[in-house]
């Protein structure tokens, strides 16, 4: 018997005909994942070595959220037991009861709402699991054949497929299939590229990513002149994502805003305070087909909707789980899946190729050390970025090591900040004026 079925039976019974009255539930919610994943890695030019062998993972686990008859709540992680023993689940129920706590705002299971359909499954990925997985081995072989001869390559490919089940006592019963494909590679652990979506990457995407990485790697072999005090700093798309993940996304988490732990107080959202330049908007969109951040319902069973966090530079809403939405007095919103599902838009975005031509004196920052150590609430950063790329007169001319000092909130407000589109990434290049020094 599947885990989701065991849990449904257990919780339905505890709600309607409990074995003990103190174990009576008034409401409940179940989330279960059934998944299979395969992966293969490259370490130091070796495919499938002892630290990165071809791997297979199978899992069936989830979580339950319970509201007891006295209004207390419990939540627990669950997995399929070694048997379907009903006694086992009754013991679990008793333990969950012991772990119950008062949280009136959380004790709320909404009624089902219409679900907007979005494609989150690529059948080609399913075929990998029913077949022999040759695609992974072929991709790794191609990488190793095509890589620069002197480069030491690291890389990984992982693909996953499975079911997601969400059930609630209010009648929601959603089961859907979803897939995932992620790959990344790097040369000399300095320059790399990655892809992560709910579908396989297309040949033109693979070629584009490979060509871009190769160009950057070649530029990295040349020592370039140092930066000056007026050098423009350009964050590569992955860096833009990392900066947003460190300084922006945490400050839009509803619970942090409500608890006064974010950069923006609730009043600033209610007054639609201007916090970014009016050219910028920020949204969570889980309805884009086959994107990694897309889903049909959240883990709490809330149907996917587009949620605007910042519109034309003005605060609109934090992202709100059910409990936070009750406290906020609004509907629950979309929830980002890590950084996936989050999109930063600029009204005057131009293609990166065009933007690069206009850079007289710049430095392209591909990665920094220690970003996770920076203070998210203040937005201030002091970072070292060894192995950045110098840009002079519209050309990437070589490697340079820099140190960045500034404030990311200030960067997003500045009228001098521009964005440039990348056709290989969901986040833009961000062209900022900030403190930059030679490392």
């Amino acid at each position: 018997m599947k885990l989701v079925a065991q849990l449904e039976e257990l919780l339905y019974q505890a709600q309607h005909t409990p074995k003990k009255e103190e174990l009576r539930l008034s409401d409940w919610r179940i989330l279960v994942h059934e998944s299979e994943a395969v992966s293969l890695g490259i370490k130091d030019n070796t495919p499938g070595g002892v630290y990165t062998p071809p791997s297979y993972r199978q899992g069936e686990s989830g979580e339950v959220f319970l509201v007891w008859a006295d209004g207390k709540c419990s939540q627990a992680m669950v997995q399929l037991g070694s048997d379907d023993d009903a006694g086992h689940w009754q013991q679990e129920l008793a333990q969950w009861r012991q772990a119950s706590y008062e949280d009136p705002d959380a004790a709320h299971i909404p009624s089902p709402a219409p679900v907007t359909l979005v494609t989150v499954e690529d059948r080609a990925i399913h075929a990998i699991f029913s077949g022999d997985g040759q695609i992974l081995f072929d991709q790794v072989k191609r990488w190793l054949t095509d890589k620069p001869s002197k480069a030491k390559m690291q890389g990984s490919i992982q693909t996953a497929w499975g079911y997601r089940h969400v059930r609630t006592s209010t009648g929601l019963a959603v089961t859907y299939q979803q897939s995932q494909f992620a790959s990344w590679f790097s040369f000399d652990s300095l320059i790399g590229g990655g892809f992560a979506k709910r579908r396989l990457s297309r040949p033109e995407e693979q070629e584009g990513l490979w060509a871009r990485t190769l160009n950057l790697y070649e530029a990295m072999q040349i020592v370039a002149p140092p930066v000056g005090p007026h050098t423009q700093v350009i964050l590569a798309p992955s860096m833009t994502a990392d900066m947003l993940g460190q300084f922006i996304l945490p400050n839009f988490s509803g619970d942090r805003v409500l608890e006064g732990q974010g950069a923006f107080p609730k009043e600033s959202f209610l007054k639609n305070k201007l916090v970014f330049h009016p050219h910028f908007s920020l949204l969570i969109d889980p309805l884009r087909p086959l994107e990694l951040g897309s889903y049909l319902v959240t883990a709490e069973g809330v149907p996917a909707v587009r949620t605007v966090l910042v519109h034309d530079g003005r605060l609109q809403s934090p992202y709100l789980r059910i409990k936070d939405s009750v406290r906020w007095g609004a509907k629950p919103t979309a929830i980002p899946q890590g950084m996936a599902g989050l999109y930063l838009k600029h009204k005057e975005e131009i293609p990166w190729g065009e933007a690069l031509q206009g850079v007289e004196d710049g430095v392209l920052v591909l990665a920094v050390l220690g970003l996770h150590t920076q203070e998210a609430v203040s937005g201030s950063y002091s970072l070292s970025a060894p192995h950045s790329l110098r840009i002079l007169k519209g050309q990437i001319v070589g490697k340079t090591d820099v140190k960045l000092t500034g404030n990311f909130f200030t960067d997003l407000v500045a009228p001098t900040t521009k964005a440039a589109l990348s056709d290989l990434d969901t986040f833009p290049y961000l062209m900022i004026t900030t403190g930059v020094q030679t490392l």
Partner: protein
């Protein structure tokens, strides 16, 4: 699952591999976790969880490997998983992977270690733990009303069993518990957060805290410090004589040196040459020592490797000279170091990698420093001790870096960065406070700059090591403070443009 049941599971899986002409490692794990988080006086979350599962790492007779894992322990799952692992190993051999047959040389080990916890998992009912944590949280809020406080408590029990084709069967229990206070303070339009923790192996940490309130005092001191940092100026970037606390020293030891001597990194490590550990290389002044090994009762304690070998304590740097590395059975020999049982994994579902346990940076040249209850009293004592021993570098700032917020290192280039909570100039009798600033440079220069220590050894700086995308408990420390000379390759960040 209990320890005996896990041992039986591993034995039954191994029994099903008898017809295979290669080698198999089976890892099974049962994990239980209770956690709770309180925010501003109310429970935000109380959760319980369990995760049982096993992984099979199969090697063809030529040394190609495949790996399969499952959290489904139902009948039939074991056989399917074994078949998958063997099939993947055979596919791997067909693509010409580099073979590794070192596991055949590993010594057979049979051991069943008792749970080192004083209070068994579940001995203190969850409801009672909730009351204790709420009491501690409420006291803290009452003592610092201007702060926004979150308190969390987590206790974990991992039961591991590792079995191998050669008859090895090792089982052990890893208990861990941690109480954390996180505060956010605002002043002069700026906000700063602070995090303090108290760790151990079981619920005893709560009983101890209720008795002595040591963590509460630390959290309050750190909150006051964070408030002062809100209005503090920035330091001009530069190279300064430094005093770093033991949390930062642990970060430096772990990120900068520990990872650079792990056997799987030697081809890309700044402490490697032609893939071998640069044994005999002078990396620090005489009297500087770097040691890694499990400490009973510690957050990162693990007595055996995830490959079933005894975890050894290793002196990485002795008297300033690089002496040894952290080797696991698969890469130690190639990296020119002995096998020290360094393989650790996040769970049964992960491939073990050579990793640290508790790493400590210790020096022979030591100044005495009596521990004091309050942070700024201790900072004053640091200043007085330095003056008394002629160790304050005159005519320039002597900067004390407080609190470890994390860091990152590129082991290939030797570049490191660390971040602290704030900085105090102990050369100035008014002890001015500065905003935190990036502490960065080259790892070999940083080690070479260490000139002494202050106070007794403190090894309870805890963290989670993220190597290889896994999350594994780590810990360590040094003397209460380490003294470092100014060095042109080690700097503190800079002012805003």
């Amino acid at each position: 699952m209990e320890q005996k049941a896990i041992i039986a599971l591993v034995q039954s899986v191994l029994a099903e591999t008898r017809g295979f002409d290669g080698y198999v490692i089976v890892r099974a794990q049962s994990r239980r976790e209770w956690g709770m988080r309180l925010s501003n006086g109310h429970f935000e979350r109380v959760s319980t969880g369990a995760d049982n599962g096993f992984g099979v790492q199969a090697f063809t007779k030529n040394g190609a490997s495949g790996f399969a894992t499952s959290d489904v322990l139902a009948e039939g799952a074991c056989q399917k998983l074994i078949e998958k692992a063997i099939q993947l190993a055979q596919r791997n051999e067909a693509i010409g992977t580099k073979s590794n047959s070192r596991i055949w040389e590993a010594p057979q080990v049979v051991a069943e270690e008792a749970n080192p916890a004083q209070k068994a998992f579940g001995e203190i009912p969850l409801a009672e733990l909730e009351k204790m944590v709420m009491t501690l949280h409420s006291r803290l809020r009452d003592a610092f009303l201007e702060g926004v406080w979150q308190t969390s408590y987590r206790q974990v029990e991992e039961i591991w069993c590792i079995g191998r084709t050669d008859g090895t069967n090792v089982s052990f229990v890893i208990p861990r518990a941690v109480l954390m206070h996180q505060g956010t303070v605002r002043d002069k339009g700026k906000a700063q957060s602070t995090l303090s923790h108290r760790s151990g192996v079981d619920a005893s940490v709560l009983f101890e805290e209720l008795e002595d309130h040591a963590l509460e005092r630390k959290a309050l001191d750190r909150a006051e410090f964070a408030r002062a940092v809100c209005g503090a100026p920035q330091l001009p970037s530069g190279h300064y004589p430094l005093i770093i606390d033991y949390g930062l020293a642990k970060g430096l030891a772990h990120e900068a040196f520990g990872h650079a001597v792990e056997s799987d990194h030697m081809k890309e490590s700044v402490l490697g040459e032609a893939g071998k550990l640069r044994k005999g290389l002078r990396v620090a002044r005489p009297g500087v020592n770097l040691i890694d090994g499990p400490l009973p009762g510690d957050w990162a304690y693990q007595p055996y490797s995830a490959n079933g070998l005894l975890r050894q304590t290793v002196t990485i740097v002795r008297d300033g000279v690089l002496e040894a590395g952290l080797g696991d059975v698969f890469s130690a020999e190639e990296a020119g170091m002995p096998v020290t049982g360094a393989g650790r994994a996040e769970s049964y579902g992960h491939i073990p990698l050579p990793r640290m346990s508790n790493i400590r940076l210790l020096v022979d040249r030591l100044l005495p420093l009596a521990p004091l209850d309050h942070l700024m009293d201790e900072v004053k004592a640091v200043r007085e001790t330095l003056i008394q021993h002629g160790e304050l570098i005159e005519g320039e700032k002597n900067l004390l870096l407080l609190g470890y917020r994390g860091g990152q290192v590129n082991p290939k280039t030797g570049d490191f960065v660390f971040q602290c909570d704030g900085i105090i100039d102990v050369a100035d009798p008014t002890l001015p406070i500065y905003e935190p600033s990036i502490f960065s440079g080259k790892i070999l220069s940083a080690l070479e700059a260490i000139r002494g220590g202050l106070g007794e050894g403190c090894f309870d700086a805890i963290g989670t090591c993220g190597k290889g995308g896994q999350s594994v408990a780590s810990s360590g420390g040094s003397h209460r403070y380490l003294l470092m000379d100014a060095d042109q390759q080690v700097s503190l960040g800079g002012e805003h443009a």
